[in-house]
Symmetry: none
Subunit: 387 residues, 2 copies
């Protein structure tokens, strides 16, 4: 289908993912049957995985099933291309289902009562939305551990294309890799703040509807959402060392009662609230990566964002609705309507608590700015977060 590597026969070629014997070029990469099928299934189903360890598990023939997150990441990083996946393969006729084509097709067709089986058009769209979000989220998780150049201004960053599409070419930053648990220093916190805010911009730029906005509207959305993105990723991807620790990917951790060196005079600590009101609920609700991604997308597209021009608010609102619908579909499809409605409601109702924490953080940043001799706020952070 895709003459990507035309006319080439792998010889004693090995799978680029797991070093098993390659059976050919699959999705643009020499790979074995297992990794080929694994990659397709992962993309098609929207299933997503969380690494139980530090996100850098070994992947080889013997242990390739041990960590699906790292296996998938390796698939992506060695160049497997999701665009080579054909979702519209109706052409395989002679399987079990015989065409009932023209006879009684409309018996159950447009009965728009709620039967899952007849929701195809909406569902296909939702599935596609989730799939896209999921792919981006995985790229984002890779970029989180990459070496990033010195941040330019927010405006310049918004104007350049998203790094996420070139994440395979960027080398890793060893400061982001887990080595051991240790109490976070202020430098750790600042480093991750800057990194996540940068990721937020790269992430936002992957939304077509976002890139179509004017510069000032883009700015309005990311200024509204930046720190939320930061905190949400911080707690969602925190390594799980119990309910009293937020652990960054590199092992730096923050305690419920923050260590002295990361306290800021005059500021109310919000770390315990990040644990109680976001991290723990995320875990209790069993929020998966695609759900998390859709939730974030619906928060990015906030029609009430400060300084957003009134004429784009309807589109922003529609985008929000799009991601909310996809989220609802995805959840209820997995765990059923009854439980899904509850999970969806509980997830959405985390938003006001998150907002309140962000508001407290804004206040803290004002205090830090006034008493700036304690900690200078980074230029990039200031540009993106200070009102």
């Amino acid at each position: 289908m895709q003459p990507r590597q035309r006319r080439k026969v792998p010889e004693g070629e090995l799978c680029a993912v797991c070093s098993d014997r390659a059976t050919g070029y699959h999705y643009g990469t020499p790979s074995c049957n297992g990794c080929k099928t694994f990659f397709r299934r992962t993309i098609v189903s929207g299933h997503t995985f969380v690494c139980q360890y530090n996100g850098n598990c070994d992947v080889n023939k013997n242990v390739r099933c041990a960590c699906r997150h790292c296996r998938f990441n390796k698939c992506v990083s060695v160049g497997m291309d999701a665009r080579a996946i054909q979702n519209d393969r109706d052409r395989i006729g002679p399987t079990k289902k015989f065409r009932m084509a023209k006879t009684e097709q409309n018996s159950s067709a447009d009965d728009d009562q709620m039967s899952m089986s007849s929701m195809s058009p909406q569902r296909a769209a939702d599935e596609k939305v989730i799939e896209l979000l999921n792919g981006i989220e995985n790229l984002c998780n890779t970029l989180r551990t990459c070496a990033l150049d010195e941040t330019k201004s927010v405006r310049e960053t918004l104007a350049s294309p998203s790094l996420l599409y070139h994440v395979g070419n960027i080398e890793m930053d060893h400061n982001t890799i887990f080595k051991e648990l240790y109490p976070a220093s202020m430098n750790d916190i600042q480093m991750w703040n800057i990194r996540e805010l940068r990721l937020c911009l790269e992430w936002a730029k992957t939304f077509e509807e976002f890139t179509k906005l004017s510069e000032s509207d883009q700015l309005a959305l990311v200024r509204n959402f930046g720190f939320t993105f930061n905190i949400l990723n911080r707690v969602f991807y925190s390594l799980d060392h119990g309910p009293d620790k937020i652990v960054y990917p590199n092992g730096a951790y923050i305690l419920r009662q923050p260590q002295e060196q990361v306290k800021i005079p005059g500021c109310r600590s919000i770390y315990h609230r990040q644990m109680d009101e976001i991290m723990i609920p995320f875990r209790k609700l069993n929020v998966t990566i695609p759900e998390f991604a859709a939730f974030k997308a619906s928060l990015l597209f906030n029609p009430d964002a400060c300084d957003l021009s009134p004429e784009v608010k309807p589109e922003i609102s529609m985008e929000r609705t799009k991601y909310l619908s996809a989220l609802f579909y995805f959840i209820t499809n997995k765990i059923g309507l009854h439980d899904g409605v509850q999970k969806y409601g509980q997830l959405l109702m985390m938003a006001p608590s998150i907002q309140n924490i962000i508001d407290q953080n804004d206040e803290n940043m004002q205090v830090m700015e006034v008493f700036g001799h304690f900690w200078r706020i980074d230029r990039f952070v200031k540009e993106l977060c200070m009102k």
Copy 2:
């Protein structure tokens, strides 16, 4: 994947180990689920067993668990091959229906299908919840126009039974009745603030689960929710004179650009936001009174409310879920699943904006307190709203 017997289906085949029904070829031998799992676990765990007898125990379906040594020996002797055992795989998560916080009243059997007709038991409960809320809301609307005695302290008010059950016996307050439109004075705003906050207490006390809480937990909830209640009622019940006016029941109105006499030095006006982010969306979404009531109830029961004791948080969370579920079913029952999901999502996602407005209001009140010579904050308001 089939290193031994390829493409074969055992028919009435029996387990070579225990003569139970074989479920397939496992590790090279036709065997049942039990022996298959037993063999794998034994190999993986490295356990070794000692026979209590002579090492020649009988192994069959009924006694296969009697001697693990002899069972394992039989496994090996009939040809089970340890080389077919793989390395540990990744976790796959819950397989049974949802392992989350379970409710007492278990839902009906097939709640994972989108068929409204099979929800009767749950729906009956939801309907009852909505009916109750709606009745209270109507009483509340009557009480809004009644003459209220001088407010006591918040604690005293919480301790006494709700006025809403005696609303028929209270006479009207003519200051609350519409006579004409006129620009609100600061006195109007203060009067309505106090009145709504008082209503909030009377309203909250109608919830059985609320009255069962300790005084301090009750206080935590109403302090968290009081001003939200105030603002939500203000805009929801605003007489509709277009998108640029909030009109109190007595005709006093506030403009998008507030008149000079109600501006407070040092405070950012939040009236335009109340219009844009709450009043107009309520109208656009066609939110009905029962929906509005359920929404408020779900906001009252906020498990993240400041100073709430940790041990009641689960109950509070369950209450919230109860009202959210009722809200969802009420909406979808009226306008169908597709539109209902959207309306529900949009309604819930107003909550963060509302929270942000409340946070801005809190900040304004701090400013007013510091520069208190402009406007003194009422004692009751202060007790209920100042942090």
